[in-house]
Amino acid sequence: MVSTSFDAKVYSLEAIKNASYDFTEKATIVIETASAGRIQVNFNVPVSISEATPDSLISEFIRLVTDHQIRVDVGRDYKLVREMIIAQAFEPVDNLDIIVSKIQP
């Protein structure tokens, strides 16, 4: 069993979960909240691909989490805009400029 942990203030559970989904083929993952604001990730690596070293496995996972954290952060920034684009595509409104006037760059 290999494991690593993430600072819950920096990394969201969503990013870690999504990275785990992408990692399905490489390992079975159990996520648990550890002490002192950390999220613990335990890897159960199938024997067939166990030639990958634990270190390389963990650094690959951390890279995935980092990218997913960017997706979560960026996604939070554009969430409202995305909803409005799709709404406007299928049920356009005339007063969009008033509706969005509160969103600032």
Binding site: Y21, Y78, V81, R82, Q88, P105
Partner: protein, 489 residues
């Protein structure tokens, strides 16, 4: 210093040593890793060309938000135009009989002479044609399938004639395609096909030794000689542009696609469609003998594509059709109709298939599933007993389609290729037992992701010759013919 710009919806992934960004409407942009970090850290200067590029490609905004939203909404609507062209592809299974017994037959065709049970009859055909014309789509394509549709040519004729008759009233853009192995083609049938402008889609797996390994007639002899002779006959009568062929990659041909391509060019075929074998129909049972991994397929595809590009570079116009479809998705702002790869899925709303007895299935795979496993989960009605509204407004169809909006599926939601991809809930169900299909292990997903990667690696090269070639495939004619035709003013 932090800059005041905000993000527009985009997805990203590392491709070709850079970061590929794709937004919801399919605009894409490559950034070096360092620029990507600057983008995310809001450190790109508004004066830089990178900043203007990202704005121009709709990845960020800094003012006029309502205009930006309107623009993207219009582009989004254009991309999803296929939703408004409700059900334009109508496939008719004219018979389940076939004069071949191909080892990998997805349609589980049978070679017994039981016309009463295995053929569509005229009454059923007419009912199906009536359903076809209830579709609100402006363009209607009727595709004859089988079994081997030429074996039930009288019913093919009655479908064509009744459609033409109804179309005098409905005035759709009506097209016919017959998917045939050509073996049963004769002068009379050819004359009829010609005079009714029916397009021929056939199958040629490669040179004789490859084709004949799996495509055999009932007595076990390969069909290559017969097929190529009739292909030449059809080409000389209909013109080369009205016949295309696809090839099914098998374990035998996977390492010899270069020979397959040479064969296609030698036979005067103007394009090729490299089709990966699916674990459906007979292929499912024979998978150990015929099958191969996704990785093997993608390797072979990439090599074949490279060869095809070389051929085009030398001045011969010869597109690979699946690549062309994906390129149209990536490079044009338009919606592309290809029912097997849409989101929401094309099942039912893009295309529909009428079985010999009038049963209506949401896709070809849905019909194959019913025949090979007796599972009629994706049958949404019957032309004899149900109205258009009952079939296409059904709760079942709604459920199938809503399971296929990849925008909401895990894995797809953040996949950089999502804007160009789609789902096939029927295939997921057939292979994985549920309509969503878990993505990381899903071959359909892995194959498409890998192929998108191959294509984007070409696009990342920024090679004008390759762009000329790719665009000539999308436009559908050699660049030389697409001559400077601007009007003088």
């Amino acid at each position: 210093m932090s800059q005041s710009y905000r993000f527009l919806p985009f997805r990203f992934e590392r491709v070709a040593d850079r970061v590929l960004l794709v937004n919801d409407v399919g605009d894409f942009h490559f950034l070096p890793e360092s620029s990507f970090d600057a983008l995310i850290g809001r450190k790109i200067s508004p004066e830089s060309s990178e900043y203007l590029d990202l704005k121009s490609k709709n990845m960020i905004w800094d003012s006029h938000l309502s205009n930006v939203i309107d623009l993207l909404a219009t582009k989004y609507r254009t991309k999803k135009q296929f939703l408004y062209d409700f059900t334009s592809l109508h496939m008719f299974v004219l018979t389940r009989r076939c004069n071949q017994r191909c080892a990998y037959c997805h349609a589980s065709s049978v070679c017994v002479e039981d016309k009463d049970v295995l053929d569509m009859d005229v009454a059923t055909a007419r009912k199906c044609v009536e359903l076809v014309f209830m579709s609100p789509a402006k363009s209607i394509k009727i595709e004859f399938q089988g079994g081997e549709p030429l074996l039930n040519f009288n019913v093919l004729k009655s479908v064509v004639e009744y459609s033409l008759e109804l179309n005098e009233k409905y005035k759709k853009n009506l097209e016919f395609v017959v998917c045939t192995n050509l073996i049963a083609l004769d002068e009379d049938k050819l004359e009829y096909i010609k005079s009714n402008k029916i397009y021929i889609s056939t199958s040629l797996d490669g040179p004789e030794y490859i084709h004949d390994e799996f495509r055999k007639n009932r007595s076990g002899e390969g069909s290559y000689k017969n097929v190529t002779a009739n292909l030449a006959l059809a080409q000389s009568s209909l013109g080369h542009d009205n016949i295309s062929a696809l090839m099914t990659v098998t374990d035998l041909s996977i390492d010899h696609l270069d020979e397959v391509i040479d064969e296609y060019i030698a036979r005067g075929l103007g394009s090729i469609f490299l089709r990966m074998l699916n674990p459906l129909g007979y292929a499912s049972a024979e998978w150990n003998r015929l099958g191969y991994s996704v990785d093997d397929f993608v390797d072979a595809y990439a090599k074949a594509l490279d060869k095809i590009i070389q051929i085009n570079r030398s001045g011969v116009y010869f597109p690979e059709m699946f690549t062309t479809l994906l390129l149209s998705r990536i490079l044009t702002p338009f919606s592309t109709g290809f029912v097997d790869l849409q989101s929401p899925a094309g099942v039912g709303i893009g295309g529909v298939i009428y079985d010999t007895n009038g049963d209506v299935y949401v896709s070809d795979e849905a019909r194959m599933l019913a025949h090979s496993k007796g599972d009629k989960s994706f049958c949404v009605g019957n032309a004899h007993s149900h109205s258009w509204r009952e079939i296409f407004g059904s709760e079942r169809l709604r459920e199938i389609i809503s399971s296929s909006c990849i925008e909401a599926l895990p894995g797809c939601a953040w996949c950089v290729f999502q804007s160009y991809c789609g789902a096939d809930p029927v295939r997921n169900y057939a292979v994985y037992g549920d309509m969503v299909g878990k993505r990381p292990e899903n071959d359909f997903c892995r194959k498409h992701k890998a192929i998108f990667r191959v294509i984007f690696e070409y696009l990342a090269k920024d090679d004008e010759d390759i762009e000329d070639i790719f665009w000539s495939w999308i436009i559908g004619k050699p660049l030389a013919e697409n001559s400077a035709n601007a009007t003088q003013m």
